[in-house]
Amino acid sequence: MIEGKAWVFGDHIDTDVIIPARYLNTSDPEELGRHCMEDADPDFAKKIVKGDIIVAGENFGCGSSREHAPIAIKAAGISCVIAKSFARIFYRNSFNMGLPILESPEAVEGIKEGDVVRVDLSTGTIENVSSGKSFKAVPIPPFMQELLEVGGLMPYVARKMGLEVRR
């Protein structure tokens, strides 16, 4: 179960906004996290509290394929992203690296900045604790569910190849 405060953004939030290219000379998660959403809100990374949730409109994560985008979001302390829709590569990347994302246009319409939101990933239920309204996310295809269950693509590949992930 995830619970956090909602930070609301509009449509077509691209990966250059999520993590500007000027910071891509590193792949260090902590450093990327410090610049998360910087070009939309320069103080975002400082303002949020661990566990907070990003709520956005259509086509979240469009643009470049940089995995630094979901990495920055995760490292900044965001627990999950709820959007009306996601751009394709961002969608893949999030599952591959285990950042929970949920698609639900109704939930996005029904959440204001600052609302407290509770998410049950196993059922896809999104609850706006502040307003008392509840929403259902678009179901995740079985294959993607399997990815989430094993913890992402690398553990999945490791299991398939009989390898062990060393972290």
């Binding site: 792949s27 470049s64 995995e67 992930v165 060393r166």
Partner: protein, 420 residues
């Protein structure tokens, strides 16, 4: 039911007779590509798994093109990681400064990607190779890592949208104008999760370089790939450079499309995409006076020899406006050399342009021409998002090499006819 070219290529690589949109498949990749930004994360993942060898050293391609020649210590470290990995693995296709080019210009030029291929690249503009009749798509670093290990990728078979281009292009209308117009019509998520297929007489008419420009920007409409079924032009291009034998696929007559979009190119004019989305497309002739500070001609979208020739056509005998910095970046070493031999450098230098060694550089606000607060640039690149070329309060206008060169001379966004 027939299949589209995209479905056929995916079925072939998944070892299946048939695939259907929505199905998730596991497919063999012909090429797995990474660059100096995305490959380090993949290499780390490989190390963490204790994997000693990539699946095939001929099919894992590493191109350090974004922050090269190394722009600072951190990027130097990232490039070093690629270099050492490439040596250790004995990769056939690793390109060092002096032979490197922007990946999506380089791979087709070198014949590393061929028609019928399934290519995944940890770079969103991997879709460029669709112009060769390949299924090519951008993925993240973890996907790249998995493909480097297994030689396979999981993919959701996309629906296809058919774009039919009819009519004959006007004098100044290029592939760039055709794709910008397309994105303007369907929007930046108009082809989300889908394969775009480009056909029609105006595509048959289009030289390979401008086809590559079109496929390059499929991602700007949210597309998974932007594919052009091979024809005579494709085969001539491929035969002159292919490093491997290849297979040609085409769509069946009764293939199913989610949507068909028709565009008559004879009514098109040179267009520009205004900040901050590639879908904000307007004909140059309808714009108010927009003064500019910088022009960039280059990138994987428009940094090929044909683009440079088009820019030179406009710049010949002209001077860059005193308030404008014109930066020209040939996309590969070969193009750089060719432009020099053809005398294009003479035109560019006489006009007052700066010429850079191949790099992505300013396209992503990396180096070699980053914008300050409030500055405006016309660029032949593919993205005009907030902060894409520098300061979050700078602006990028996307255009063809013709319009970019004309604007550099005029000091404001201009139609080629105004300066020629």
């Amino acid at each position: 039911m027939g299949m589209t070219i995209a479905e056929k290529i995916l079925a072939f690589h998944a070892g299946k007779e048939e695939v259907k949109p929505g199905e998730i498949i596991n497919a063999k990749v012909d090429i797995a590509l990474g660059n100096d930004i995305t490959a380090p994360i993949a290499i780390k993942a490989l190390r963490e798994m204790g994997v000693e060898k990539v699946f095939d050293p001929d099919r894992v391609v590493l191109v350090p093109d974004h922050f090269t020649p190394n722009k600072d210590i951190k990027s130097a470290q990232q490039c070093k990681m690629l270099r050492e990995f490439a040596r250790e693995q004995g990769l056939t296709y690793y390109f060092e400064v002096g032979s490197v080019g922007i990946e999506h210009a380089l791979l087709p030029e070198q014949g590393i990607v061929v028609p019928g291929d399934l290519v995944i690249g940890a770079d969103s503009h991997t879709c460029t190779y669709g112009a060769l009749g390949a299924f090519a798509t951008g993925v993240g670093s973890t996907d790249l890592a998995a493909a480097m290990i297994t030689g396979e990728i999981w993919l959701r078979v996309p629906e296809s949208i058919l774009f039919v281009y009819t009519g004959k292009r006007g004098r100044w209308v290029t592939g760039k104008d055709m794709i910008l117009e397309t994105i303007g019509r369907i929007g930046v998520d108009g082809a989300r999760y889908m394969a775009m297929e480009f056909v029609g007489e105006a595509i048959t008419d289009l030289p390979m370089e401008e086809r590559l420009t079109m496929s390059n920007m499929a991602i700007e409409a949210g597309g998974k790939t932007g594919i052009i079924p091979p024809d005579k032009e494709t085969l001539e291009f491929a035969n002159a450079r292919a490093k491997r034998p290849y297979e040609v696929f085409s769509s069946d007559e009764d293939a199913h499309y989610a949507r068909v979009v028709e565009i008559d190119v004879s009514s098109l004019e040179p267009v520009v995409a205004l900040p901050h989305l590639p879908e904000n497309v307007k004909p140059v002739s309808e714009l108010p006076e927009i003064t500019i500070d910088q022009v960039v001609i280059g990138s994987c979208t428009n940094g090929r020899i044909r683009d440079l020739r088009q820019a030179a056509e406009i710049l010949k005998g002209n001077r860059v406006h005193p308030n404008v910095r014109l930066i020209i970046i040939p996309a590969t070493q070969k193009i750089y050399h060719q432009a020099m031999t053809e005398g294009l450098f003479d035109v560019f230098l006489s006009a007052g342009a700066a010429i850079s060694t191949p790099t992505c550089g300013p396209c992503l606000g990396g180096h070699m021409g980053v914008l300050a607060e409030g500055e405006r640039a016309v660029a032949t690149t593919n993205r005009n998002f907030v902060g894409r070329m520098g300061h979050p309060k700078s602006e990028v206008y996307l255009a063809s090499p013709y319009v970019a060169a004309a604007s550099a001379v005029a000091g404001r966004i201009a139609h080629p006819e105004e300066v020629i």
